[in-house]
Amino acid sequence: MLEKLREIICEFVQMDPQSITEQTNIRTDLGLNSLELVNLAVAIEDAFDLEIPDRAVVGIETVADVMELLETYQED
C-alpha cells in the first residue's frame, strides 16, 4: 500500500519516492495545501476504487493517516 501511495504522491510533488514514509507530514513535508489535499484524495479514490468522505480528508496529517483511511474505507 505504501508503495502505491508513494507513486500517487509523487504525481503531486517532486521528491524521491523512497523518502516518503508513514511519518511523512502532508503539509510540512510535502507542502500540500487544502486544495492539493482534495486532489490527492481524489487520486487515491481512483487508484484504490473507493470513496473517502470529505470530512475524513480534513483530518489527514500524515501518510499513516491516509493508510488508516484506506484500511477503513476498503473494509466498508
Binding site: N25, T28, D29, G31, N33, S34, L35, V38, N39, A41, V42, E45, D46, D54, R55, V57, V58
Partner: protein, 218 residues
C-alpha cells in the same frame, strides 16, 4: 480590512534576522516545513499580520495565538479577530473586530472529479460555460475556504451545499444575517473574504513590507 502582497516568480526571500520578527511558536512552525518556499510563506503571512495590526491598531506588539478546538488561531488577548492565507503567488491577512475569513488560491488546472467533489450542480454549470474555468474554479474554492475559515470549520463542511452565484463575473455568497463571501480576481490568484461587513482589500508592495520590517528590527 484585508491586506495582501504578491510576487511574480519565487516567494520573496525573508529579511535578515526574520526569526526575531516572529513569535517563537511561528518560528517553530516555519522551521517544520521542509521546502524553503513553504517556510517563507509561513513567515511572510505572520509578518503581513504584523503589518496589518500596525496599520489598523498602531501596535507593534508581537502577536501570540491560541487555538480553538478546530485548530483556528485567535489572538491570545482576544483584542482583534484575524485570518491569514497563502498560495504560491500571494499571502493575505484579514483583521476585523468580528470573526473574518480570508483565502487566496492561484489558478491551476483541476480534474473533473475534484470539481464534482467541491462544486454544486449550478456551479458546475457556470464552470462549463466559463471562458476561464481555472480562474472561476479558484474563485469558488477560495470562497468556500474563506467561508469555512470565518466560522472555524475550514473545509470540514458540505462544500457543495453552499452555492455561489456570480455578480459582475465573480462569485458571491450573501445571505440575510450571515457573513457574506466576496471574491475578487487578480491576474494571478483569486482572493475571497468572508465577513460581516464589507472589507477593503489593500495591496501592499514588497518594498513597503521591507520598510516596515526594518522599522520593527530597529
Amino acid at each position: 480590512m484585508v491586506y495582501y502582497f504578491t510576487w511574480e516568480h519565487d516567494v520573496p526571500s525573508l529579511p535578515p534576522r526574520w526569526e526575531q520578527l516572529l513569535s517563537p511558536e511561528r518560528v517553530h512552525k516555519a522551521m517544520q516545513y521542509k521546502r524553503e518556499s513553504d517556510r517563507r510563506l509561513c513567515a511572510w503571512s505572520f509578518l503581513l499580520l504584523r503589518y496589518a495590526l500596525f496599520c489598523e491598531y498602531k501596535t507593534l506588539d508581537m502577536p501570540h495565538w491560541i487555538y480553538d478546538e478546530n485548530g483556528k488561531p485567535h489572538d491570545s488577548q482576544k483584542k482583534y479577530c484575524f485570518n491569514i492565507s497563502h498560495c504560491d503567488t500571494a499571502v493575505a491577512c484579514a483583521v476585523d473586530t468580528r470573526e473574518i475569513g480570508v483565502d487566496v488560491q492561484d489558478f491551476r488546472p483541476v480534474s473533473e472529479a475534484v470539481i464534482r467533489k467541491v462544486c454544486s450542480e449550478s456551479e458546475i454549470g457556470l464552470l462549463q460555460r466559463s471562458a476561464q474555468p481555472e480562474k472561476l474554479f479558484a474563485a469558488f474554492w477560495s470562497g468556500k475556504e474563506a467561508f469555512g475559515k470565518q466560522n472555524g470549520n475550514g473545509i470540514n463542511y458540505d462544500l457543495q451545499a453552499h452555492t455561489f452565484w456570480l455578480q459582475d463575473e465573480v462569485p458571491l455568497l450573501a445571505r440575510a444575517d450571515a457573513p457574506a463571501v466576496k471574491t475578487q480576481l487578480t491576474d494571478r490568484f483569486a482572493l475571497s473574504v468572508c465577513a460581516f461587513r464589507d472589507a477593503d482589500v489593500i495591496a501592499v508592495s514588497l518594498t513597503e513590507m521591507q520598510k516596515f520590517l526594518m522599522r520593527l528590527l530597529c
